[in-house]
């Protein structure tokens, strides 16, 4: 999922200060799962903003709504009747959702309420860790299902650096050395020959190195 974290209230108040009525929007997808921008978080933020504004002597009308997905135009269209009277929109979705709104509603300022972080997986309740950087050319089949791009601080392709100690990365005791994990897993699978395969220098163009990326499925695209 795409993970996110709420921005500090102070920053959000600065955004909405000039307005009297805003629409606060959540998203039912990734940000709901990582407890950053789902229906519940929309309620919490609306309440918090309302109180903070009240305390500063101003009143704001915050309408709340949570879309099934903010990154699809079909769902964004639902908002049209709700926007009547709203001077601005604040979105608790990832950056994709915020941009989708900004593109559709050109006359309304759109503000992000969260900082979009990374593509991650849930390690345990309340803990999300980065697992994919969308490099566009997946190597997981060669690396025992552990990504050296997302999980090695240096994004090394052919084994660990000298900073790998006791299974940990030199940047922090808390961070596992991705190549140690890869080696352990390949050994357990009896696939250590894969470790000996030289992975050539990575072509970063499919990973965004040649500008913004797009997928066009001709059988689906209209």
């Amino acid at each position: 999922m795409i993970t996110a974290e709420r921005k500090p209230l102070e920053e959000l108040i600065e955004y909405i200060k000039p307005f009297k009525r805003i629409l606060l929007l959540g998203c039912n997808e990734c940000v709901t799962v990582c407890a950053a921008g789902g229906r519940k978080e929309v309620g919490l933020l609306a309440s918090g903003l309302q109180m903070a504004m009240l305390k500063n002597g101003s009143n704001i009308d915050i309408r709340q709504h949570t879309l099934e997905r903010q990154c699809d135009p079909e769902y964004v269209e639902e908002l049209v009747p709700m926007l009547d009277g709203a001077e601005a929109i604040m979105s608790m979705a990832c950056g994709c959702g915020v941009q989708q709104l900004a593109m559709r509603f050109k006359d309304k300022p759109v503000f992000p309420a969260v900082n979009t972080k990374f593509m991650g997986a849930s390690e345990r309740q309340g803990v999300w860790a980065e697992r994919c950087q969308g490099c566009g050319n997946c190597l997981l089949g060669m690396t025992g299902g552990i990504c050296p791009i997302a999980r090695c601080a240096k994004q090394l392709m052919n084994g660990p650096c000298g900073g790998s100690t006791g299974g940990h990365c030199e940047i922090s005791e808390e961070v596992d050395c991705a190549w140690q994990l890869i080696w352990d897993r390949l050994k357990a699978l009896g696939q250590t020959d894969m470790y000996l395969e030289n992975i050539p220098a990575k072509d970063w163009r499919p990973g965004g190195g040649s500008g913004p990326r797009k997928i066009i499925r001709e059988d689906l695209a209209e």
């Binding site: 500090p8 209230l9 102070e10 519940k40 309620g43 919490l44 309440s47 918090g48 309302q50 109180m51 903070a52 009240l54 305390k55 002597g57």
Partner: protein, 140 residues
């Protein structure tokens, strides 16, 4: 505000604090009428939103009363509630509400005295803190 009487919302677990309140009543132990009890099936049922909404509606103080450590009827609801309360305390500070206005307390069903004592102590603490800044702003 003159003659300030704090409004305190107490989310009480059915299996401990709520029964302890009953016990306090049976024992004829007085506790301040400022405390408004909301019975919940477990302290773990109390969501951050319930707490924040209580403050938004003008509560001066809120506490969540759950079972003693290790005694939760649902195994870990009370420890989860404790973590949630700690999280909301930080959020309250961000909003500009003193985090002392929110507490997590624990007791067993038989602790009628502890219930009455906690209710009194928290009421007095909130009385000293004065009306919540939200209530003050709402009154203006």
């Amino acid at each position: 505000m003159e003659n300030f009487e704090p409004v305190i919302v107490a989310f009480c677990c059915h299996y401990c604090a709520y029964t302890a309140a009953d016990m306090a009543g049976s024992q004829r132990l007085p506790y301040p009428a400022n405390v408004k009890i909301i019975r919940v099936p477990c302290s773990g049922k109390v969501d951050a939103l319930h707490i924040v909404k209580a403050f938004e509606k003008g509560a001066d103080g809120v506490y969540v009363a759950g079972c003693l450590e290790g005694d939760c009827h649902f195994k870990s609801g009370n420890t989860r509630a404790g973590r949630r309360v700690a999280y909301v305390k930080k959020y309250l500070e961000e909003i500009g509400i003193e985090s002392e206005r929110l507490e997590m307390v624990t007791m067993s069903a038989g602790m009628g005295y502890r219930f009455a004592q906690t209710a009194t102590e928290i009421t007095e603490k909130i009385r000293k803190l004065g009306p919540s800044p939200i209530k003050t702003a709402l009154a203006l």
